[in-house]
Symmetry: C2
Subunit: 507 residues, 2 copies
Amino acid sequence: MAATPVWSVDPRTGKQREQVAVEATPQDVDRAVRAAHATREALADRGARIAFLRTAAALLDEAAGAVVEAADAETALGPGRLTGELARTGYQLRAFADAVEEGTYLDIRIDRADPALTPPRPELRRYKIPLGVVAVYAASNFPLAFSVPGGDTASALAAGCPVVVKAHPDHPATSELCASLLRRAAERSGLPADVVAVVHGFDAGLELIRHPLVSAAGFTGSIRGGRALFDAAAARPVPIPFHGELGSLNPVVVTEAAAAERAEEIGAGLAGSVALGVGQFCVKPGLVLVPEGAGGDRLTGALAKGLGETEPGVLLDHRMRENFVAGVRERTALPGVAAPVTPGAGGEHTVGAGFLTVSARSLVEEPERYEVLLEECFGPVTVVARYADPQEAGAVLERLSGNLSATLQVSAAEGEGAPGPAAELIGTVTALAGRVVVNGWPTGVAVAPAQHHGGPYPAATSHSTSVGGTAIERWLRPVAYQSVPEALLPPELREANPLGLPRRVTP
Amino acid sequence: MAATPVWSVDPRTGKQREQVAVEATPQDVDRAVRAAHATREALADRGARIAFLRTAAALLDEAAGAVVEAADAETALGPGRLTGELARTGYQLRAFADAVEEGTYLDIRIDRADPALTPPRPELRRYKIPLGVVAVYAASNFPLAFSVPGGDTASALAAGCPVVVKAHPDHPATSELCASLLRRAAERSGLPADVVAVVHGFDAGLELIRHPLVSAAGFTGSIRGGRALFDAAAARPVPIPFHGELGSLNPVVVTEAAAAERAEEIGAGLAGSVALGVGQFCVKPGLVLVPEGAGGDRLTGALAKGLGETEPGVLLDHRMRENFVAGVRERTALPGVAAPVTPGAGGEHTVGAGFLTVSARSLVEEPERYEVLLEECFGPVTVVARYADPQEAGAVLERLSGNLSATLQVSAAEGEGAPGPAAELIGTVTALAGRVVVNGWPTGVAVAPAQHHGGPYPAATSHSTSVGGTAIERWLRPVAYQSVPEALLPPELREANPLGLPRRVTP
């Protein structure tokens, strides 16, 4: 059987640019996983791992021109955005190197023996060890920061887990380029190149999740694709954790007082957040609850102005463009749905940004008919639901699935604790989301120790985060050593603490 | 349709003692879950939760006589063991109350805003919130510490999650009694009684895991039952975490030097660990790798003496007794398997302890034929595999599934780092288990901050622990607040830190 070619495609024209690779056969996947598995011992070297992550960041910086050019040619995201994404990618790699050096992520706990307790307590020393080979499924919309050199890869390598990335078909050339840089960085740091590898192809992705030596997976993508892989991970003879980020509506609620106070600012800010990156962020606000009345009218006016002035943009691929156009058409066809700025087909290869409006009452009273308005539509569109009172807004929120983010726009007085719906809304949206934003926008997910990028299903398939300091926790499991003599303990747990790691000691 | 009665049965006679309850219908389960769900807001009161856990421990202590009597009548575990288990149960409840008071489990992280970073960092404040109603599946072998008032329940309540327990059919009367004490403790602490409820029946257990308002589950039991529930949890429209402890062989490796040095001590200690509680501990050593030769012979001699002198005991129920007798018969029938002390049917209602021997070579060379010897056999039996050299012992270990524990018996010199197989064995068994014990026995799982009672599948279906301080982490999910004004933050995250909680701050 002939190998299936993998093409790099220019989304600005829909034309094939070059053949980059071939799809991995089951044998290829097996080889990649076994080769990765064989590097676990080398990767256990903490110093080499730290050097590797920092060298990877440096090599990506050095190759910035080529990386941004390759990514732009395949994704049309533009050099500005991609340069920023590359900086974020390098920052992530360095932040995880710092985390390995610092050591809190090992969550070391030491209990001294206490024979006086019931039952008596022996000496216990606990830390966390890497799980083994991690499968990473790259995202379409972040060819760098959520793909081959992205957060899943960086955090897994930092944890000591070799990685096999299933590349996204939207940017195979970028994936190959980044993989070669990471592999070079490994070798320069004294590690085998096979600590990270890339495979292409849909079937290869399924082979990967079923491979007995794969011990966990990270995924960023669609609900349909992510759920299929989640199901496969759970159905294995030995199930493995599947950390998937699947989909999110990212509701925004504007209080009446906020609309009265800052209608134009909120409308303009919303337009910017919806249209950013041609609406291709997983935290794009997809549903905005805006009060009826004059303040809300001014807000939608500003939103119309902002989105109306937005230049058409190129989506990541033509299938997405078709889905976007069809998704907008389906929503616009619903009775009572208006499109003050019609999103949809721009030129032959572009789409225009826009928004739809509907009454919140429709969403509450005819939930089945309007269900699709509460589902993510990938691309530069949002749905503005006008509500009559806070109870109606609350009733819409109650119908939502889990989200990566939820945003409140409140007035200055509400922010200072003035009576109003804001306090109750905070509680309502906390139950819905992994991150709650007040008077800001959900797009722009900072890489930071306290970040949480996850949330109730389908935002995420687990309670972990894929961005920020605690993302490393996904690839580790605890182990406790009971009454183990100093000479047989791993260095991390020795009484002498030769690595100077932080530990919690129970006397 | 008539309700299905739930009987309390005396395992010492096999006779029904009394009808305790009826099996829960789907409507009953729905009612219990909804009632529990409605208590979430009340349970969010930290002070009430702490008082509740401590009061629960106090009421169990007060009722100790009745509780131990009820449990002994249904389980035949004996007043001594059950008194100890009750002490452990109270200690657990109090330890989780202390953990709530102390607050580290909230894992609070605060990042100050930093506009100079790329991308700029907004202020982020992260902590953990309770998931919602937790389903707890009680264990047969711990009617208290892993059942209604046990570790899963205590840690879930401490996290702020209401609990619905599916009682184990081996001790329904104990379950009802403990539930009534917990519910009374709730009311005395100003909480609704429905923060915890009990349901009976196999079908009720399935209803429970599928209920849309159930958000996580804890389970201790068999591989077959646990896997069925794990699969149901993963197959839900909204999958939920399922923390199951399913089965474990708990291998022990005795080095040649250890056998030469302490053969009699090790043999006697092993006999005690195997026979403890009539072999009904999930950490009972089920496979022991003993060197060929004189030291090993002395060890098995001491083991034979210890187990030969063990009085027959009563298993938890008659089905277990049948499974044990059948399991021993199947293993003993294999070629080359000897039974120096034959375990199996004692009197009409009892079983005797014993052990089997086999060559490690058989396990390595004919793995399929001898597969059953590497599977858990619940009851007072262990398999001693005699090995020719450390490589052969390692080859047996490589064939094992995941375990709750792995134990090494090493010599004094090996413990001090003398050359020998011990250092490599530590690495090998760490990969296999959640807890590694040296020169001790795995039975007796201390309730302690650094404890880990879990391990690779099938020891556990997740990488969490069901015993010890970090067991509470199973019932929480992180949420991050971005740029949220002080007045709208939960008290745990306010800058003023009114609750005095520990936090990690990034300047």
